[in-house]
């Protein structure tokens, strides 16, 4: 597992991925590798816990757009929680919040996705 992925777990048939560090191209690819692997076994709901990811770049976030696109093909969803304010603002500017959801907490995310 990539150092960027701190943990993965499942709750209510949702895969929850906890990240750690800079969401750049490598970080984005680490998330997408898990999502695409889980999608092969039929899972289509994902949450990303970004509490330990305070810095992102647009290349890493663009990979999340690729994941959203793939999930649309299987009627799936992705959401995020514990975002730093600048990460949340970046997601807004890039339009991710039109196609996926930002939640405040894990409980809210698990019940709201």
């Amino acid at each position: 597992m990539s150092d960027f992925i701190k943990s993965t777990k499942e709750s209510n048939q949702i895969v929850i991925i906890e990240t750690d560090g800079y969401l750049n191209n490598e970080g984005g690819e680490a998330i997408s590798a898990i999502c695409y692997d889980k999608m092969k076994s039929g899972q289509n709901k994902f949450l990303i816990n970004m509490a330990a990811t305070k810095v992102v770049n647009s290349i890493g976030v663009s990979i999340l757009i690729e994941i959203i696109e793939k999930l649309q093909e299987v009627d799936g969803k992705i959401g995020y929680f514990n975002l730093a304010p600048i990460v949340s603002k970046t997601f807004n500017i890039m339009g991710l919040t039109k196609y996926s959801t930002v939640f405040a907490t894990e409980d809210e995310a698990v019940s709201g996705l």
């Binding site: 800079y22 750049n24 810095v55 992102v56 770049n57 647009s58 290349i59 976030v61 663009s62 990979i63 757009i65 690729e66 959203i68 696109e69 649309q72 730093a84 304010p85 600048i86 603002k89 970046t90 500017i93 890039m94 339009g95 991710l96 039109k98 196609y99």
Partner: protein, 138 residues
């Protein structure tokens, strides 16, 4: 009195933009900027550095100048690459990217312009200087 400045010379190596953001954070604390202001400057700086690293085809270093002014922070990102024509850069929209063949990347300039108070581009065949300004509201 001359305003203080900080200058960095970054080699073109992956993730070197994080050195620039660490410097920006120290300057932001010195200037008593808010967490939001500091985050916006760092994010814009990351994108400007990545553009310089990836698109300029510069072969040597990228230079970052922080100019600490009374009521603003000015950040210049300077490369000695091939330059670019800003008028040919399309404004990205996620609606045009999702479910279509269009590449998902290409958000750098849009983010820089949204996050900073003013942005100027000077570019020719000998390089590009991006000048970004964040006004300080205390």
């Amino acid at each position: 009195m001359k305003q203080p400045s900080v200058e960095l010379k970054l080699p073109i190596i992956p993730n070197m933009e994080l050195i620039a953001t660490q410097t920006a954070e120290v300057i932001a604390r010195h200037m008593h900027l808010t967490e939001d202001q500091a985050g916006e400057i760092s994010m814009a700086l990351i994108e400007a550095c990545i553009n310089a690293f990836e698109h300029s085809k510069a072969e040597n270093n990228v230079f970052i100048h922080f100019l600490i002014e009374e009521d603003s922070l000015v950040v210049k990102v300077i490369d000695q690459g091939i330059g670019f024509d800003k008028t040919k850069v399309e404004i990205p929209k996620i609606e045009n990217k999702i479910g279509k063949d269009e590449r998902k990347r290409g958000w750098g300039l849009q983010l820089i312009q949204e996050l900073m108070d003013s942005v100027e581009f000077e570019s020719n065949s000998e390089g590009t200087t991006v000048t970004m300004k964040k006004n300080i509201t205390k």
